[in-house]
Amino acid sequence: QTTWTMASGYPESSFFTQNIRQFIKEVEDKSGGKLKIDLRSNDSLIKLDAIKRAVQSGQIQIGEIRLGVYGNEAAMYNLDNTPGVAVDYNQAMKLANAQAPFFDNMFKKNGMRLVTMVPWPGQGFYTKQPVNSLADLKGQKLRIYSKQTQQLGDRLGMQALILPFAEVPQAFSTGMIQSLWTSAQTGVDVKAWENVKHFTYTGTMHNKNAIIVNERALRQLDANLQKIVLDAGNAATLRGFEMSKKASADREQTLKENGMVIAQAPKDVLAKMDEIGKDMIAEWLATATPDEKAVYETYRSSLK
């Protein structure tokens, strides 16, 4: 009997963690208890940003990471972080399929194995006033969390501020920031209704979390067990897409119940974001390697 230690960065209530719990149950059931996985969620063993390294170096056998964080290491990580590339779940699934062989290859080369990819719910603006047109966004102080979202905010004519998640509540109450651009999930996490009234859904992008396994730990299992883990991982991807969709709807419902007004983004905002996305893709293609470009081409042709 083998026991793996697994680390993740989100609380038990998050759909990511719930999906992992089901993945673990499936592995343990199908292996007849021969492989057990001890999940330590919510940063309680290893902090989210240190999990990739911990898996790679064999400190733990398996963990969940946020792919978008590693954009400085390979351009591919930035692709689903770029606005307008995959604006709905359908496209996000096709993008994931196109990326999978590339990621498989890259993680394997670095001593890891990609098992599961789960998308974040789509994004939207959290604002005090309704967003009826592009002009309503101009000049607002927007909290952002990455290079890509900073460019998006800047090009929409907003004042983009990078703030650590922990400083968001305080910054809201002091007026340092006026709006967020993030998912319904994060909006619920920060209890956005205490500061803003309107959630204007834009979709725009679905960046992904991934479950990764240490390659050596995986190889130490017998072939049958390996297959059980990888199959359960694939099932977790499919289930994760559904859970993400449902979480998005559920969280929007939570926002509504707390008195927020939910709206779809007006045409001119979407058109502007599309335009910005096209520029950013052009820039992305300039930094990407030929292999990475090929992934993008495969994805584009799978859309047709």
């Binding site: 940003d49 390294r53 790679q56 170096s57 964080v69 590693y70 954009g71 400085n72 290491e73 670095n110 290079k147 900073q150 800047d154 004042q159 983009a160 501020l161 990078i162 650590p164």
Partner: protein, 173 residues
């Protein structure tokens, strides 16, 4: 000769640490100033690296200055010879533990180099660079402790008592 080289080594590390501490302030000041002009400059990462450098490079100097706190309640009441032996034992154990730590932080830096780990923010700093600094700082602490063992073996008194700057002579309640 060796004596003065070591002493200036600790001091230089200390000054470097202080410079990095000032660096934290400079980074944050730049961040505030840029924001007031409506621009984004993310200095959280840079100031974090300055903090780590200030902490690790300062270790040896802080040790020699007696500013690392410890509980000498019992040992200070031991008879002189026994206390002297306790001090040697502590410094030996300390040198061993920090030596082992420095070795592993060094391996961490090497691993980061092999993994090509890069910091996630705007800096995109290769992680092995600040980690090598951390390894050097811990190694310096280990050297300072070993230095202290040699000093104590010469039959002299320890040099890491309570720092002068905090001694306040006043009636104790």
């Amino acid at each position: 000769m060796v004596r003065s080289v070591l002493d200036s080594f600790y001091l230089v590390c200390g000054y470097l640490a202080a410079a990095f501490m000032v660096g934290i302030g400079v980074c944050i000041l730049a961040q505030i100033a840029w924001r007031m002009r409506g621009l984004t400059l993310d200095a959280t990462e840079a100031s974090g690296f300055c903090l780590a450098a200030a902490t690790f490079l300062g270790l040896a100097h802080t040790m020699r200055h007696g500013s690392h706190v410890r509980i000498d309640l019992l040992t200070s009441r031991l008879p002189g010879r026994l206390r002297h032996r306790m001090n040697i034992l502590n410094c030996l154990l300390g040198a061993a533990v920090t030596g082992y730590l420095a070795w592993n932080v060094g391996l961490l830096a090497l691993q980061s180099f092999n993994f090509r780990d890069v910091s996630p923010g705007l800096l995109a700093m290769p992680m092995w660079i600040p980690q090598t600094g951390a390894a050097l700082g811990v190694a310096a602490l280990s050297i300072a402790l070993l230095d202290e063992v040699v000093w104590l073996l010469g039959g002299r008194d320890s040099r890491y008592g309570a720092p002068d700057e905090v001694r306040i002579d006043a009636p104790v309640a």
